[in-house]
């Protein structure tokens, strides 16, 4: 099968997944399109190295790489080291901004906004798990981290969501027992 036929058969079905991931990572519709387009160019280029059948995880890995490269070029300050304390600070800080407070009134968007405010490392595992339905193993592959790290980041991401001030309905009975 020619490369372009393979691309249409293996990669294109996962375009929504690619765009969703890029959109959640970049938090911008236009930037997400740039990232996905770059990822498609790369996927086309490396398609020869796609063996086996897990095209979705393979493609999402490329999307993630394309995003981080894009991030390095455009918003290098956002690439934060995976330092628990620094990240916690980042979240508490984000939760306190006026924009966040204003959004609290809009109940239907509260959860989405809280997720948008999560630090990158947590946002990506949560999106892969909850929106793309990837298994721990697949997330480990896409995000290039051990399964143990997938689990701890997921736990952290969820705890941060449950504690988020914009999410009282969920946070209520959990915040006390979570530490």
């Amino acid at each position: 099968m020619s490369i372009d036929r393979r691309f249409e058969k293996l990669i294109l079905p996962h375009l929504d997944a690619a765009y969703n991931l890029a959109r959640w990572l970049s938090r911008d519709a236009h930037d997400a399109e740039d990232v996905v387009q770059d990822a498609c160019v790369r996927a086309l280029k490396y398609l020869g190295s796609l063996h086996g059948d897990d095209a979705r995880a393979w493609f999402l890995t490329i999307v993630r790489h394309a995003f981080y490269d894009w991030l390095g070029r455009n918003r290098p300050a956002e690439i934060v080291q995976d330092d628990g304390a620094a990240l916690e600070l980042a979240v508490d800080h984000a939760g306190a901004t006026p924009e966040q407070a204003a959004l609290r009134s809009d109940q239907t968007r509260a959860l989405a906004e809280a997720m948008t405010a999560l630090p990158l490392q947590y946002r990506e595992v949560l999106v892969l798990r909850e929106l793309e339905d990837l298994s721990y193993k697949e997330i480990a592959r896409v995000a290039d981290i051990p399964i143990g790290t997938v689990m701890s980041r997921l736990a952290r991401a969820r705890a941060l969501l449950q504690r988020s001030p914009s999410l009282h309905a969920v946070a209520g009975n959990v915040s006390g027992s979570e530490r």
Binding site: D4, L15, A18, A29, S49, H65, L111, Q162, V170, S177
Partner: protein
């Protein structure tokens, strides 16, 4: 099972990642323990809320079309051009020149792109080599036995790299590790030649780049070759002639 043990597994259980006996044990604990049951229910609720309230974005139609168009355009670019020149002989000399210019531009652009790819790859390979040396993390599996190194690597990759020891010729196998090169996990074979460490990155040949056989990056020699169905990229401070000789042996 106590609460401490259960709490480590509640999330995995809520994610459907625990089954069999362990799943049964957790279920029993959740029946008996109120705190853990609450934690579990909160997680399940959160997951349900995310699914219900958080949007999964769909790729815009325009993006899909743009991507399809760019894929289509890669198809006729190579083949159709000469055929068209042949068939439409009556086309004016001006148009022919235009076509030729397009082909030339395409060839040049492709060559430049490939050159860039190779340059980036060489730099990335050298960076990886230096990081491994500095970090003193030369090997994930330390063994001079090819029958130990090869299965270790195969178990962690979607291909099985050929692994051979050349100790009798001075190139002793030290071990192997997994690196990340060119956006893919790659098998790295580590050899020692006298005082020189050699990293050999082995992967299935990518479709794009034409190997630039030899370059020097920050004083390190990088030798690139294709053979035995694999793409071989060797990095070392060993002199270029010896390194090339070694790569020739590897790819046989």
């Amino acid at each position: 099972m106590n609460c401490h043990e259960a709490s480590a597994m509640i999330a995995a259980y809520a994610d459907g990642e625990v089954d069999g006996l362990r799943g049964h044990t957790i279920r029993r604990h959740l029946h008996l323990c109120r705190d853990c049951a609450t934690k579990h229910r909160d997680l399940v609720d959160l997951r349900a809320r995310i699914r219900a309230e958080v949007p999964r974005f769909k790729a815009p139609a325009a993006l899909r079309e743009r991507i399809l168009a760019s894929v289509e355009s890669t198809r006729p670019a190579v083949k159709a051009m000469p055929a068209r020149v042949d068939r439409w002989r009556w086309v004016s000399a001006g148009a022919l020149a235009g076509c030729a210019a397009t082909v030339v531009a395409w060839v040049v652009a492709t060559a430049v792109l490939d050159w860039r790819t190779n340059e980036d790859l060489a730099v990335e390979a050298v960076t990886t080599h230096v990081r491994a040396t500095l970090g003193n993390h030369r090997v994930d599996v330390a063994s001079s036995d090819q029958h130990t190194v090869k299965p270790w690597l195969s178990a962690r990759l979607d291909y099985s790299p050929p692994v051979r020891d050349f100790a009798s010729e001075g190139f002793a196998l030290v071990g192997g590790r997994i690196d990340y090169l060119d956006h893919h996990p790659v098998a790295t074979l580590v050899y020692r030649y006298r005082d020189h460490m050699i990293d050999v990155f082995v992967r299935p040949p990518p479709t794009h780049a034409l190997p630039a056989p030899l370059r020097t990056v920050r004083g390190f020699n990088v030798v690139h070759a294709v053979g035995s169905g694999m793409d071989w990229l060797a990095v070392s401070d060993l002199n270029a002639a010896e390194l090339s000789r070694f790569v020739d042996k590897l790819k046989e």
